[in-house]
Amino acid sequence: MRPLIKDGRIVADEWDLLSHEALDDIDLTPAGPRQIVPLAQYGTHAEVLRTQGQRIAILLGPDDEPDAAAPYLADIGLVAIHFPSFTDGRGYSTARLLRARFKFAGELRAVGDILRDQLYFLHRCGFDAFSLRADQDLSAALNAFGDYAWAPLAGMVPNEGRGRIGQSSL
């Protein structure tokens, strides 16, 4: 499985991701020990999977309202937010709401059409993990977090209170 960037480092991805496209014909029995499922499936399958000893996380699409995920946030350690296209910015709002309004403190992972030049801004909005598009160079992408020497709200956005990803920490 392709590694991802988490907390400013390249790490192995321990989670299996079920995409929205796989929704209709879902078979979770062979699922791995750590499974990300779309929000719509979470309610149905969470209990079953948990009893099988699996850890579950939620995938939110651009149309999903963060409010709908709110009841589950206390039970999960990871929310993945899907960007179907790099021009679709709705996931930024979702991330900000999860962090600021719903106080979600777990891993917030950007998945989908994620490009190197977006990492700085995604991080500023609360993402701390990034599953980049396959053609993106992960090592080179790490520099993105140091793209700007100064930011108007340094130290005030949710992520930076949780341990800043910057050149200093790399």
Partner: protein, 377 residues
Amino acid sequence: MRFHDIGARARLGDEGEPGFEIFVGGGVGRTPMVGHCIKPFLPRAELLNYFEAILRVYNRYGRRDNKYKARIKILVKDLSVEGFAREVDAEWRHTQGAGSLIPESTFETMEAFFAPPAYGGARATDLAFVAPRAENRPFARWVERNVAPHRHPGHGIVTLSLKKTGVPPGDATADQMDLVAELAERFSGGEIRVSHEQNLILPSVALRDLYALWERARRNGLATPNIGLLTDVVCCPGGDFCALANAKSLPVAAAIQARFDDLDYLFDLGPLELNISGCVNACGHHHIGHIGILGVDKNSEEWYQVTLGGSEGERTRLGRVIGPSFAASDIPEVIERILQAYVRERLAEECFIDTLERIGLEPFKLTVYGERHEAAH
């Protein structure tokens, strides 16, 4: 400001505190719209909170099914200005006073980035400025057109024109850029601004240095005294360079500049904004030119549609199409006729755009289309 998705106009509140007037829903392109005010006064500390609220409302309700509709302006139209403003306020209430509130200390840090240069003792009466202006007409003309007043006495704001006839508007060579950098270091505290009119601005030059600056700029093709005049054309790269274009724009700009190369005539015409776009995406901002030209494709031929009366700034408005489009070769003559109508109708000292607003499009249409226009009605 009113032609962007979000516009912010700096202003002072009732108590003299700094803040912004906020506009949303503007834009050019295939659906040109003038933005609307949704917040007459926003304290500056709330700027990011409020912008986030705008984006969240757009992200929640904006359309994604069609990329031409996926814009704030479309949503503002759908929800109405009042409806959009209500949604933004409701979202803003969650963060107001907290969230991304910008602390005063951050403003102080930002202000330090814009510390004024050391002005020294320059005066408007310095002989090094006054003498050449009195004796050298080309220099005096350049000062009149290309140097704007500066709030600090003895200084001026210099615009280096990138609108020399025959050079694509806004283009500069590497050597010219090196020279501009050097001029900025020597005369303007190391600062250069790029204007959306496609020129370069040296924001703070002592008047006594102007002559030396002008001589070097002029020798290098950067001192055409045409800022704000007809030949200061704003133009996109058009069909010569751009894959999206329906028509070429640079040759049209060049033909107009070549036709109107008499400085006395240009100065007599006074302030006039001409904008040219090679397609409906409107990179040349033709909707907001006093005269706008839009390249269109009709049966695989390049045609040009003319709009009049667009305006940015205080009197923001969209230009209106005057009638059927023209072949490229007709455009200089069409411009000539528009200008004839203006010169004929203007009152003393009246600018083109003021005459146009006073008398309307009809006299211009008549002069351009003559009988053809009459017959069409």
